[in-house]
Symmetry: C2
Subunit: 329 residues, 2 copies
């Protein structure tokens, strides 16, 4: 949510020059991304104005994982998915290293896409996002790289264990009991035999650019990994079908999201049957990182931690057998 690396205009011009994209016309640091520095860059090439996002990866990004993220964008864009392409430098590399006062950092130049992130999605928008998600699931079937999901069930157990019973109880009196009931259920019921592939794993509204009902860009693939495709449907469902605070479920958005997905990639019977438990897992995934950050963010930090209870409420909703029918028969 900030620009951590300082780059003078002269350094910025030299970076852009390393890519064959024209001369630097403008560079504005943008307040996006969780932990990297980003600029909106404009260049002039022949008569055309071109735009890109320049990302400098800060310490939380493992540089050895960049080829997975950046090659994936190229793979998906080449197959017609609405994702930004990675620009390659004059030597063909998808990312470069620069020296900064804080040490060497990696950077990448990524295509700029139009569109805005909605905060109150409509049914038409939920349907379009479902379809776009299915499109990347199909298009990544022949992507040759793999990346383990670092935020899987053992990771949630670890994070929530680190929070501790008292830590969870300090967030909300009922939270420890909820977690202690859910984790064993997930451990015993978590599926292992569903179709796998590349998943986005974080498709919140912030990470979808839209114009009207059209998805113009899926962005921020830095949680993408190899896991069950239906789990990605569950993650997206938890992100799109509730009010932010998790108190209100919207059945119309839910139906539209699933319909949109199935218009491109129908769910198997096994996937559909697993969606309730996958959705509980998705809720626990965000609950676990939010609870951990809630307890471990210094009070004077730059970022306000997000409310873990927003996903505890989703978890209660998904865990209620009365709601298991929301994903269809």
């Amino acid at each position: 949510m900030a620009v951590y690396t300082r780059l003078g205009a002269e350094e910025m011009a030299a970076i852009v020059e390393a890519f064959d994209v024209g001369a630097l016309i403008s560079a504005k640091g943008i307040a996006e991304g969780v932990s990297n520095s980003n600029w909106l860059i404009e260049t002039q090439q022949a008569e055309a104005s071109r735009r890109f996002i320049l990302t400098v990866y800060e310490s939380r990004t493992d540089i050895t994982e960049l080829p997975f993220f950046l090659d994936l964008l190229d793979h998906l864009a080449a197959r017609g998915c609405p994702v930004p392409r990675t620009m390659h430098d004059r030597d063909g590399a998808s990312h470069r290293l620069i020296d900064t006062p804080e040490g060497q950092k990696a950077l990448a130049l990524i295509e700029y896409l139009p569109g805005v992130s909605v905060s109150e999605p409509t049914v038409g928008q939920a349907r379009a996002v479902g379809a776009a998600l299915a499109q990347i699931h199909l298009a990544s079937a022949d992507f040759p790289m793999e990346r383990a999901n670092s935020l899987d069930l053992p990771a949630w157990q670890q994070l929530l264990g680190d929070c501790g019973h008292e830590g969870l109880a300090s967030i909300d009196t009922g939270l420890a009991a909820l977690v202690e009931r859910e984790l064993p259920t997930l451990a015993s019921q978590w599926p292992s035999d569903l179709p796998r592939g590349v998943i986005h794993a974080d498709l919140f509204t912030d990470n979808v650019l839209m114009l009207g009902d059209t998805v113009t860009g899926l962005i921020d693939f830095y949680f993408a990994c190899t896991d069950m495709l239906a789990y990605d449907v569950a993650v997206t469902h938890s992100a799109w079908c509730f009010s932010n605070d998790g108190t209100r479920f919207d059945a119309a958005l839910s139906n539209a999201l699933i319909e949109g997905y199935e218009s491109v990639r129908p769910l198997s019977a096994a996937e559909r049957a697993a969606l309730p438990v996958l959705a509980r897992g998705a809720a626990v995934r965000f609950l676990s990182t939010r609870a951990y950050d809630w307890l471990n963010t210094p009070e004077d930090a730059l970022v306000t931690p997000k409310d873990p209870m927003a996903f505890a409420r989703r978890l209660e909703f998904y865990a209620d057998p009365a709601n298991h029918g929301i994903f269809g028969a």
Copy 2:
């Protein structure tokens, strides 16, 4: 340096709709400006893509002063100065009010200009900035509004008095003595009879957009006020003609800046003779706010305070009679 106000895509679209500038295509929060929230906005109108900066004014900006700042941009742009125009809404207003969770705030939509802010200016760039400064001084001669300089000599005395002898000494052992020597000198020698007009008063490299040696935009007029024109020359000189830390004066940049200015608006003999004391005042102006912020910024604040000593060094330089010839005979 951040986006303080949250605006959803739907709110953003409604804001843009109030101006007759086409439909919202993209909005990116940008990490610019000292204390307001800014977005780079793209719209589509007929076949044309248009771009703007949307500013939401936060609590440090006095809304009653916006007409001065915003009308000034229109006045200067209409006279061919490289400043962004203010877009007016469908009712002709230069700014609008919106309701936010933190209360009502004002916003303005301002033309986007290409260009980047240099960090190591060349002689050609310093000359161009001098000329652009003189251009706004001439073009604002018939601007009908006035605004007092809230950071004038009494304000510096107040700020440095608030820092206190011990506070200043805690920044640097020699700083209190330097300030106690300079303030009486300025009080007795500060000119009062030089040509006055609208001055930018903060023309650092950050506030100048350039492409090569061409000034494409002077921006961030939120310190603009009515004061001596030659004082603005001195402020700009202190900003452009030294290394950031104030240890190295660059005579070539200094000569180019003054030459550039005089190519558009020659300095009178009285103005030239006053430049050494005006430059000492400019150095004290930035020293005073930086010293105050240095002593009053909590250690855990979002912003790192700027080093006051960078302007103490400029002050020592300007106060040295050996350097009074740098502004010409």
